[in-house]
């Protein structure tokens, strides 16, 4: 098996007295779906925040191996937008769309870090800019089609039903052409039917060969999707392995799954 696209070692995060993450190690491989599960308050979202530069971890390393080869990049302490440019994209547990922008625009924003046009380009709108603009729209539209939000294109994001908003977040993240996609509880607030569609969606996203790191409490989804699962509790890793191993793991059952 080739080298992981993301290597995290000894990640620790303290908030005043509270230790949200405790020397956590984790690896993600391209083309795989890795799940991160654990009780509420275990530190999952915090882990995402540390990866994406919203918090700087108290201790620990984060390295990204660009899929195209090239030497690995240290992500620790970078600004969020830098991290995204290097190919990490995320969705938020408490939805953070641009409420008063249309669905399409939300996705177009995702293209920002992959496009160049600036003041001059914007004003004079030369052929390059026009081409770029067209490319943005087409691609955004394609992505919306993929996640099945076509019919909302010109709807304001804030007026979308909850489930649709979650999918829009995924679409927006995809627009940044990530090599690693971080999903924070994408199925929350979806009914089983929608969850099933989401399942398919995530599958065919990962078919495109990018790595996915998934936080989720819906075990049905996690077990069916993930290639590997990490279980954290109180910021510590308590188990790691294939779904069936995890399902069988006594600690995990005690701390998290229950009978």
């Amino acid at each position: 098996m080739d080298k992981p696209i993301l290597e995290v070692a000894g990640m620790t995060m303290d908030f005043g007295g509270i230790r949200a993450l405790d020397t956590l190690d984790l690896e993600v491989y391209s083309g795989e779906i890795t799940a991160l599960i654990g009780p509420n308050g275990a530190g999952k979202t915090t882990f995402f925040n540390c990866l994406t530069g919203i918090y700087t971890p108290t201790r620990g390393e984060i390295f990204l191996n660009p899929p195209g080869g090239g030497h690995k990049i240290d992500l620790k302490g970078l600004l969020p937008n830098k991290v995204t440019e290097y190919g990490l994209a995320r969705t938020f547990q408490n939805i953070r769309l641009f409420p008063r922008m249309t669905v399409l625009e939300n996705v177009m924003i995702g293209r920002h870090c992959r496009t160049r046009a600036f003041i001059v380009g914007a004003i004079f709108r030369g052929p390059r800019t026009r081409r770029e603009e067209k490319e943005i729209i087409d691609m955004s539209y394609a992505i919306l089609e993929k996640v099945g939000l076509k019919r909302f294109v010109n709807e304001y994001a804030q007026n979308l039903p909850y489930g649709a908003q979650r999918r829009l977040e995924i679409a927006r993240a995809l627009a940044t052409e990530p090599s690693l996609l971080l999903l924070d509880e994408p199925a929350a607030g979806m009914n089983p039917q929608e969850t099933r569609n989401l399942d398919e969606l995530i599958r065919d996203i990962s078919k495109d060969g990018l790595a996915i790191l998934l936080i989720e409490h819906d075990m049905k989804l996690v077990m069916s999707l993930s290639d590997r699962i990490y279980v954290v509790d109180y910021g510590k890793k308590i188990a790691e392995g294939k779904p069936e191993e995890i399902r069988a793991n006594a600690d995990v059952i005690k701390a998290y799954l229950g009978e």
């Binding site: 979202t45 925040n49 919203i54 938020f92 408490n94 953070r96």
Partner: protein, 300 residues
């Protein structure tokens, strides 16, 4: 050394004056996140009411104490009434509007109030009766701080303490904090949001009136424009201390007052305001939500 002390007290007096207005600003901001530019003018109206009542009473030969009490009362009552009405007319209809709409409404209201007083009364400066006599026992330090100055300092401190307690421990105080953080949820736990907001305006305006009375006594004259200038300074002070925080408003005001006094005393009064505002910028650069301001902890 003496000079230093003199300046110190000038600064404190000035600061206390700002604080009296800043407190109202901070309360209103705290509850609906609105920079209430009309607040300075409410203070002006308070001063005018006090002026009218006091003068009338003194013409009819009431004793000084009665004058102070009645004038103060009248000022408080009417200012509160104005505050209450303004909120209902100019801000309440804009609860769901974009954040800036009430701000503009406030600016308009401020212009309106100034000209309302200008037309109904006069553009000239009017002599404000000295309601607080120079106490004999103050004579030895009268060259350092006047009786009025002392009074203002004391009143400000007392009000600050009372407000802090009110916000922290009383039922209405809790309701205020809840309302300021999440109106929908506040309703869902049974808070009458509209009433809470009205009460806040009433209290804030009442304070402004007390301020109006004391400050006018201190300056000795009023006209329709005093509110605007003082208002801007007071708001600056409130932000400096961390807008929304009661002690912050006072602290910010004192710091602002002291800066101006010492700038005047040791450098030049030409640039006192420049120093005041530069200080503001500096402090905010290092403490982006004011000295005592709590940064909104919204988890990602």
């Amino acid at each position: 050394m003496e000079y230093f002390v003199e300046l110190l007290f000038s600064g404190l007096t000035r600061g206390a004056i700002y604080a009296l207005i800043a407190l109202g600003y901070t309360m209103v901001y705290g509850i609906i996140g609105l920079i209430n530019f009309a607040h300075g003018d409410i203070y002006m109206i308070g001063a005018f009411t006090a002026y009218l009542v006091a003068t009338v009473l003194s013409i009819y030969g009431f004793p000084l104490l009665a004058i102070i009490v009645l004038a103060g009362l009248a000022a408080a009552v009417w200012s509160s009434a104005y505050g209450y009405t303004i909120e209902k007319v100019a801000y309440k209809p804009l609860r769901q509007a974009p954040r800036l709409s009430p701000l503009i409404s406030a600016i308009g209201m401020s212009i309106f109030l100034q000209n309302y007083v200008l037309l109904a009364q006069t553009s000239d400066f009017l002599p404000f009766p000295t309601l607080i006599p120079d106490w004999a026992f103050m004579e030895p330090i009268a060259h350092i701080i006047s009786s009025t100055g002392i009074t203002i300092l004391i009143v400000t401190t007392v009000i600050m303490l009372l407000l802090t307690l009110l916000i922290k421990y009383t039922r209405i105080g809790k309701a205020m904090r809840a309302t300021s953080q999440d109106k929908t949820m506040a309703m869902l736990v049974g808070i009458n949001v509209n009433r809470v907001i009205s009460v806040t305006f009433i209290i804030g305006s009442g304070l402004a009136a007390i301020g109006g009375l004391l400050i006018a006594t201190h300056i000795g004259q009023i006209n329709f424009y005093i509110g605007f200038i003082a208002g801007i300074k007071a708001f600056t002070a409130a932000v400096l201390g961390g807008i929304g925080s009661i002690p912050g408003a006072v602290l910010g005001s004192l710091i602002l007052g002291l800066t101006e006094a010492f700038a005047t005393g040791y450098i030049s009064s030409d640039y006192e305001d420049v120093f005041a505002f530069s200080l503001l910028v500096l402090i905010l650069i290092f403490k982006p939500s004011g000295i005592l301001g709590k940064d909104e902890t919204k988890k990602v």
